[in-house]
C-alpha cells in the first residue's frame, strides 16, 4: 500500500460548503454573457469579474434588456414531478419559481419542500460561479435543471 503516501488528509472538521450552485449546463452560456462579443481567447480575463459579481443583473452596458418568462416542462424526478417558471432579463436568469409540484407521498413532498427553495438560489448563483456541472446531483436537482432548461429553450435563451 505504498500508494497511501499519495493521500493527503485535508480537513477533519465539518465539510465546508464553499459555493452554492446547481448542476446546470446553461451556466456556461450565462457566463459567456459577461463576455459577449469578445473572442474566446480573451474570456479568461473576464470571469473573475463575473465570479465576484453578487448581483445577477449587474451590467453596465447600454442595451435595453427585456424581461420575459416561461414555464418549463413538468419533469418526473423519481418521486414526483415538478415544473418551474423562469424569468429572464435579456439572457440572464432573474428568477426561478416552482410552477407545479406533484409527489406521490408525504415524505417526498417534505423532501421537495426542503430542496427546492435552495435550488432556486443555486440556479442564480450558477450564473456567477464558474461551474460547468455537478457530480453526485440528485434526481430532484436534475429534474429542476431540466425544467429550467426547457423554459430557457422556450425563451430562446
Amino acid at each position: 500500500m505504498g500508494s497511501m503516501g499519495r493521500v493527503v488528509l485535508l480537513v477533519v472538521t465539518a465539510v465546508v460548503g464553499l459555493v452554492a450552485v446547481l448542476s446546470f449546463h446553461t451556466s456556461t452560456p450565462q457566463l459567456a454573457l459577461a463576455t459577449a462579443g469578445q473572442p474566446a481567447s480573451q474570456r479568461k480575463q473576464q470571469p473573475k469579474a463575473a465570479a465576484t459579481s453578487a448581483s445577477p443583473s449587474g451590467s453596465s452596458n447600454s442595451i435595453v434588456l427585456v424581461t420575459r418568462s416561461a414555464v418549463g416542462a413538468s419533469e418526473q424526478y423519481g418521486y414526483g414531478a415538478l415544473s418551474v417558471r423562469v424569468t429572464v432579463r435579456g439572457n440572464r436568469i432573474e428568477n426561478v419559481t416552482v410552477n407545479g409540484l406533484q409527489t406521490a407521498e408525504q415524505y417526498s413532498q417534505q423532501l421537495a419542500a426542503q430542496v427546492i427553495p435552495t435550488l432556486h438560489s443555486e440556479v442564480l448563483a450558477a450564473q456567477s460561479a464558474r461551474i460547468n456541472g455537478i457530480s453526485g446531483a440528485s434526481y430532484t436537482c436534475q429534474a429542476y435543471a431540466l425544467s429550467v432548461q426547457s423554459a430557457l429553450d422556450k425563451l430562446h435563451v
Binding site: 459555493v19 448542476s23 419533469e75 460561479a129 457530480s135 453526485g136 435543471a145
Partner: protein, 260 residues
C-alpha cells in the same frame, strides 16, 4: 439580444434515459448548430441503446435474460461482454468492493453501465468533430478537452447533506463520478456480506475512464476512506471521500478549484 451571437456560446441538451437525466454541454467550435444537433442525436441514440441492452428493469433486455440464465454472454450483443470485462477489471481493482456478481438477483453491471454509456456518448460527439464537451449522466461526468484554452472544466461535488451548498469544486480533465449514501433508492450493498453498507457519506473518483470511475466510486462509498488506497494504486485515478462525520480525505491528484 446580444449574447446569442457570442462566439463562446455552448449548445446544451438534456435527455431522459436510464432512469435519470443525461445532460450535455457542447462547444461547437467550427461546427454548425445543425451538425451539433445531429451529433447530439447520435450520442443520445447510444444512451438509449445502452438502456435497452443493460436495463435490469426491462424483462426482455439482454442483461435481464442473462440474469435469468436464458442466454449466455456469447449469445448476447458484444457490448455485454465489453461491459462485463470492465466489471471484472473494476472488481479486481477494488479488491472486490465492486462486485456485480455478488448482487442479489444475479449479475448486475448497473454500477458501471451509466458511466460507460456516458463515456460512449461523449466519444460519439468527439468523433463527430465536437472540439469540447461535457456529458453529465445523473451526476457522473465525462469531459473532453476544455471549455477554453486556459480554462479547465470545473465540477462541483454535491454536498452529502447540505442541499444549499457544494462540498467543493474540482477541476476535471476526463471523468468524475460521485456516489453518496444520500439518494433514496440507491442500493449500496456490501458485496462481502450482501447487506446494505456505506462507510462514507460520499465518494468521488476521477480518472481516465468514467466506467471505471463510476464503479470505483460506488465501491469506495461502501468501503469507506480507509480503502482509498485501491483507487490511488491505479494509474491516473484519484479519490475524494467525505466521511459520515464530515471529514474530508483527498488523494493528491485531486485538483481543487480556487474558490471564487
Amino acid at each position: 439580444m446580444t449574447a446569442g451571437v457570442s462566439q463562446s456560446r455552448t449548445i446544451g441538451h438534456a435527455e431522459k434515459v436510464m432512469g435519470t437525466v443525461v445532460s450535455f454541454v457542447v462547444h461547437p467550435g467550427a461546427l454548425s448548430a445543425a451538425a451539433v444537433r445531429s451529433a447530439l442525436a447520435r450520442a443520445c441514440r447510444t444512451l438509449h441503446e445502452a438502456d435497452e441492452t443493460f436495463s435490469t428493469w426491462k424483462p426482455q433486455s439482454p442483461v435481464s435474460r442473462l440474469r435469468r440464465g436464458e442466454a449466455t454472454v456469447d449469445e448476447l450483443p458484444t457490448d455485454v461482454a465489453t461491459v462485463l470485462g470492465l466489471c471484472e477489471r473494476a472488481k479486481a481493482a477494488s479488491a472486490g468492493w465492486f462486485d456485480p456478481w455478488a448482487m442479489p438477483g444475479g449479475v448486475d453491471p448497473t454500477g458501471l453501465v451509466k458511466g460507460w454509456a456516458a463515456e460512449r456518448a461523449l466519444a460519439e460527439l468527439v468523433q463527430s468533430g465536437v472540439p469540447a464537451a461535457m456529458v453529465n449522466a445523473g451526476g457522473d461526468l465525462a469531459v473532453h478537452d476544455r471549455p477554453a484554452p486556459t480554462e479547465p472544466w470545473r465540477v462541483g461535488i454535491r454536498h452529502p447533506w447540505r442541499v444549499d451548498a457544494l462540498a467543493c469544486v474540482i477541476e476535471a480533465d476526463a471523468a468524475v463520478a460521485t456516489s453518496g449514501a444520500y439518494e433514496r433508492g440507491e442500493h449500496l450493498i456490501d458485496p462481502h456480506s450482501g447487506r446494505p453498507l456505506s462507510k462514507a457519506a460520499s465518494a468521488t473518483v476521477t480518472g481516465p475512464s468514467l466506467a471505471i470511475a463510476d464503479a470505483l466510486a460506488t465501491a469506495l462509498v461502501i468501503a469507506g476512506e480507509g480503502e482509498i488506497g485501491f483507487v490511488t494504486a491505479l494509474d491516473g485515478y484519484d479519490a475524494y471521500v467525505i466521511g459520515p462525520d464530515g471529514s474530508e480525505l483527498a488523494s493528491d491528484g485531486i485538483r481543487f478549484a480556487p474558490s471564487a
